[in-house]
């Protein structure tokens, strides 16, 4: 069964550093999403992406965040200058009515 994959599974970085989280959505899906979940809290929407552009973004998705689909398979989330409060689990999802989630990247900012 096709699935969404994410790399890395864990990332530890220093505050102020840039991180890139990678996702490979399900191949015939057209809509892609990033969500995050701070430890112990609910899952929050960050951004949705369709037809090579952002279709919707939340207040969390400020200028420090960017998304890209650099080729036909990868979908990336970049955080330019990480802050302590960016520590969370980041989930990628792709959609064909049902959103299928990847296993997540646990980001720890020190």
């Amino acid at each position: 069964e096709p699935e969404v994959t994410q790399t890395p599974s864990h990332q530890v970085t220093q505050m102020g550093q840039e991180v890139i989280l990678r996702c490979v959505p399900i191949s015939n899906h057209l809509y892609f999403y990033w969500y995050r979940q701070i430890l112990g809290q609910k899952v929050e929407f960050l951004v949705s992406f369709y037809n090579n552009e952002i279709s919707e973004k939340s207040e969390i998705f400020d200028d420090q965040f960017s998304v890209e689909r650099p080729d036909g398979s990868n979908f990336t989330l970049k955080i330019r200058s990480t802050k302590l409060e960016d520590s969370a689990m980041y989930f990628c999802a792709s959609n064909q009515e049902t959103q299928y989630f990847g296993p997540g990247t646990r980001l720890l900012v020190l």
């Binding site: 999403y33 609910k42 899952v43 929407f45 939340s58 989930f91 959103q99 299928y100 989630f101």
Partner: protein
């Protein structure tokens, strides 16, 4: 209350018992979905119910939707220890099926032997 709030926040039952979780939401929806999350892991899609549906079944899962009350329930029958997880409802707004999911706060289910 926030869009997508589940109750109870935590539920502890014994294996074989039924578990019922409720979800309330505020805005009109296109559909409502339930997800399971094992501790520290990803989200697994369980079931989707559309706004024009009232009840749906999938294996041991039964979901109801009452759009007049803006609420949904997830029933897991004959629970097993492996059902131990957090369960989230998530709504898709009426704008369309490709819109973002808005998640609830989740119910932590503990099934003991």
């Amino acid at each position: 209350s926030q869009q997508g709030e589940e109750d109870p926040q935590a539920l502890s039952i014994q294996e074989g018992e039924n578990a019922t979780m409720n979800c309330s939401y505020k805005t009109s929806i296109n559909n409502l979905q339930w997800y399971r999350q094992n501790s520290g892991r990803g989200l697994v899609h369980l079931i989707l119910i559309r706004s024009n549906e009232r009840e749906k079944h999938s294996g041991r899962l039964r979901v109801t939707l009452d759009t007049s009350k803006k609420s949904s329930s997830l029933l897991i029958t004959a629970s097993r220890a492996a059902d131990t997880a957090s369960y989230f409802c998530a709504t898709v707004p009426i704008a369309g099926t490709a819109s973002k999911l808005t998640f609830g706060t989740g119910t932590r289910l503990q099934v003991t032997l």
